[in-house]
Symmetry: C2
Subunit: 146 residues, 2 copies
Amino acid sequence: MDVQEQQHTDLQQVAELVDEIKFAMMTTEEADGTLRSRPMATMQMDGSGCLWFFTAMSSPKVDEAEMHHQVNLSYANPDKQDYLSVSGNCEIVRDKDKMRALWTPWVQPWFPKGVDDPDLVLLKVTITEAEYWVAPGSAAKRLYGL
Amino acid sequence: MDVQEQQHTDLQQVAELVDEIKFAMMTTEEADGTLRSRPMATMQMDGSGCLWFFTAMSSPKVDEAEMHHQVNLSYANPDKQDYLSVSGNCEIVRDKDKMRALWTPWVQPWFPKGVDDPDLVLLKVTITEAEYWVAPGSAAKRLYGL
Ligand SMILES: Cc1cc2nc3c(=O)[nH]c(=O)nc-3n(C[C@H](O)[C@H](O)[C@H](O)COP(=O)(O)O)c2cc1C
């Protein structure tokens, strides 16, 4: 996973939590309003604060994200009592160079056909709001309007 | 936290994950469609599979849940690679006896005025869908139409 130095300094704490926890639960909304989540491996948090994930174009989350672009990414580490909520807009990106740059063998279990699988795409989440709770005390800290 | 024997046997695995992880990230939807989450301490999973939480009536999550009843509860344990997504309907319950039965000192940090605080209410989440990924392999298992 590649977490870059953040241009927005107030995103630095968010980057540190993403780097610590790595796996997010991505929540999307279904057509009937049901909220569903699933674990997703964060591949990159780029310098402008966008979060990148691999996924299969044919997976339900892509349809859900295309109908309701707003998603939530929650990063939870119950042992250390560190928690992060990222609200953002999700878009599908078909950029083979970027995919090759981000590809690593440990995502192979979810994408056995590898980086050249035509069904493989990138999900890019642009942060609109972030909130984190860091032990000790875990009082909520909010970053609005990024 | 009180996790009871489940009447629906297929909810037993869900109950075990809730018991293991305890803290959920509860995602709600704001009026403008933004999805926001925050950590919440699970107080009980009752025999019929409902999940119970304490919260403040005056907190934004209550307004959000009243406008959009569908919420998601994600339980994540990155160290053990166990993940649970619960989709459900959320309602506010003002039952002082139930509150006293569930009250424990370790929720005091979020409710310093204690169990008799007039702003204290219960959130009851009734499960509609659940999905879990349990190591090793963490293949998705789905329970629909509960
Ligand atoms: C580990 C942990 C557990 C928490 N448990 C609860 C809880 O059970 N109930 C609650 O209302 N807030 C709890 N909080 C605080 C919430 O995360 C949140 O900051 C607060 O409820 C306000 O949320 P809202 O502005 O979305 O309504 C907890 C925070 C942490 C760090």
